[in-house]
């Protein structure tokens, strides 16, 4: 996977790239407005960050407490060390219930585990029920954003695929009309499903309950009509106490979409009479990330997507250019931990402007970790001149090349870099912008001269 090359593809359609950029900025702007209406916003971010620090310091204790309380509430608890085991557990439950068709609400974890293709291979029909996810599923695409899965698509593209799959009127791209068509289609699926799968936003150790947040109500439509609810949860999603939900629910939707809260915030504590709830606790690389001290607090992420909406690179390169389940700034610090080779270009897909860290509701130092990953990758690849130039030739070290040179060298370099480098895949996301006018002297030089 190579971010610069993928970004080139995305930027070929300049009008679309501009639209994508503007659309995400609109979401970022809503987040700014609503967060400013909460006087204690910064205090809430500190609290959320501190709570998550405490979670990571005591993760094993909270997991055991969560398991104990969930079991006492008649919830079945399963543990999966990796994606393969997670998928097997889910399939096992489906087989036990002779279930061949399921409905699933948004779960980034199941994307990460590639659950859909696994189940389909085993003869299970999987219907994603979040509208955006259903759209990309029809198109055989992964989500391009963790909160807004179809944000890369224009409504006419959605109209076309709905015409093909749901027999809507050709050319009718009215969002209300299309949404109602999906509502009708998915109602049938909800009413027919025996098993429903959801993700988990928060698992509460103190009570053994877990919380799922949606705006569409699709998670609840699925689970309350089905006999069996399977909830897939990364082990880092645990929080100690119920009262901590107050902090996180105040931050999550405001950061994600600029709403004061998601419309449905469902607390599952025990199954309805005659029904079953299963929870699958999944590691899949999280314990390795926990062991990397510098990258540990990337596990605080509550998947709000704010860092994506604000990122100048994400907005101008699209979710698919990252080639990882979680794209954007947070994806660029999580993915190298899973496969360094495959994702080595991601920590360089950043200007290090720090806007991601500024908006993050749990105060992850995202841009600093991006910088740390660059160090790790550079170390792993060798730092002698020859390997750098080879890396450049291979298109791996697009931006780091710039960062590795001292400021004054870079000033020279920017001037003399031939078009073939500045406008090659090496610096793709910079393509849409002119090279900055270079100051004649650096600030340091200026300061020295003018100090007196």
């Amino acid at each position: 996977m190579n971010h610069p090359q993928e970004a080139t593809e995305f930027l070929k359609d300049a009008a679309n790239a501009k639209w994508h950029d503007d659309t995400l900025w609109f979401v970022r702007d809503k987040r700014d407005k609503v967060s400013k209406s909460v006087p204690e916003w910064e205090k809430l971010r500190n609290l959320a960050s501190d709570i998550k620090d405490n979670v990571l310091a005591n993760l094993e204790t909270y997991l055991v407490e969560f398991e104990k309380n969930a079991k006492a509430n008649n919830i079945h608890v399963h543990w999966a060390k990796d994606a393969a085991e997670h998928n097997q557990i889910v399939l096992g439950i489906l087989n036990e219930h002779r279930c061949k068709a399921i409905v699933k609400s948004k779960s980034i974890l199941t994307e990460e585990c590639h659950l859909n293709p696994f189940l389909e291979k085993n003869g299970v029909e999987v219907v994603d029920t979040d509208l955006g996810e259903r759209i990309v599923q029809f198109l055989n695409q992964p989500p391009s954003h963790i909160v807004l899965p179809a944000i890369h698509l224009k409504k006419m593209a959605i109209s076309d695929i709905f015409h093909e799959k749901l027999q809507t009127e050709k050319g009718n791209d009215d969002p209300y009309y299309l949404t109602q068509a999906a509502r009708k289609h998915l109602r049938e699926k909800f009413l027919a499903a025996k098993v429903a799968i959801t993700g988990v936003n928060f698992g509460v150790a103190e009570t053994g309950e877990f919380v799922v947040c949606t705006n569409e109500g699709n998670a609840d439509m699925g689970v309350h009509l089905a006999d069996v609810h399977i909830a897939c949860m990364g082990i880092e999603k645990i929080i100690p106490k119920r009262e901590h939900l107050g902090v996180f629910l105040r931050l999550l939707a405001r950061s994600a979409t600029g709403q004061s809260i998601t419309n449905y915030n469902s607390h599952f504590r025990s199954p309805s009479p005659g029904k079953e709830i299963h929870i699958v606790l999944v590691d899949n690389g999280r314990t390795e990330q926990l062991a990397r001290e510098k990258f540990r607090n990337s596990l605080k992420c509550i998947r709000c997507g704010a860092c994506m909406n604000t990122c100048p690179i994400y907005r101008r390169s699209g979710g698919f250019s990252y080639g990882s389940t979680v794209p954007g700034p947070i994806g660029s610090i999580l993915s190298p931990g899973i496969d360094l080779q495959k994702h080595s270009s991601l920590p360089f897909a950043s200007t290090l402007c720090g806007s991601c860290s500024d908006v993050c509701p749990v105060k992850i130092n995202i841009h600093e970790q991006l910088y740390e990953w660059r160090q790790e990758i550079t170390k792993a690849q060798g730092t002698n001149a020859k390997s750098i130039s080879m890396s450049i030739a291979n298109g791996i070290f697009a931006v780091p090349f710039a960062y590795k040179l001292s400021a004054s060298m870079m000033r020279g370099a920017l001037k003399i870099l031939p078009e073939s480098i500045t406008y090659s895949g090496l610096n793709t996301w910079g393509k849409q912008r002119d090279l900055p006018e270079l100051p004649k002297e650096t600030f340091k030089d200026w300061y020295k001269k003018n100090r007196k």
Partner: protein
């Protein structure tokens, strides 16, 4: 070693510093909570209506199948809670009672007793929640204080009608759940 032991022992082996759990300060505020709640629910595309308006709303929208779990509104209802949720699929309107509301975001707390069947507030085409004015709290911290550790198999903070913006960020009300939320503040 099974996966549970494997994961737990891997975590235990990682040296970490102790990090204390913070105390949540009091963020409650002074002011007219009903007014704040009203603003919040409008922001979420919900609506406040008077108790006396319901009959008119039902007639105007030609709601046919109506269920009420609130005794004072039973006169408006014409169907009972079925045994199986699937039988709710053609329900036009459900009238239920909320336990309390949160002024900062119009979230209303419901548990199993308020819903009868967990699918009810989602599967109904339209939803009315009856709420006591004096039940309002300022923010989510107060809300969780009020719930405390009370046990409910299923609890829900509902704050508006079902909605989506998945098609080009255009807001559409009525995705999979109820197409409207009207709140009667008593």
């Amino acid at each position: 070693m099974n996966s549970r032991e494997h994961i737990l022992s891997k975590i235990k082996a990682i040296p970490r510093d102790e990090k204390p759990l913070p105390k949540i300060p009091d963020f409650s505020f002074e002011g007219d909570l009903a007014e704040k709640f009203t603003q919040s629910i409008q922001f979420n595309k919900g609506e406040i209506v008077g108790a006396g308006d319901l009959a008119g709303i039902i007639a105007q929208n030609k709601f046919k199948k109506i269920l009420s779990l609130v005794s004072s509104f039973e006169a408006l209802a014409n169907t009972e809670l079925p045994a199986d949720s699937h039988q709710l699929k053609d329900l036009d309107l459900a009238i239920i009672e909320g336990q309390f509301g949160v002024a900062e975001n119009a979230a209303i707390w419901l548990t199993d007793e308020n819903m009868g069947l967990r699918a009810l507030p989602f599967i109904t085409e339209h939803l009315v929640i009856v709420l006591k004015k004096n039940s309002l709290v300022t923010n989510m911290h107060e809300a969780y204080k009020k719930i405390s550790l009370a046990h409910s198999g299923f609890g829900l903070f509902i704050a508006g009608p079902s909605k989506t913006a998945d098609i080009e960020q255009s807001l559409v009300i009525g995705a999979h759940g109820a197409k409207s939320l009207r709140v009667v503040l008593m």
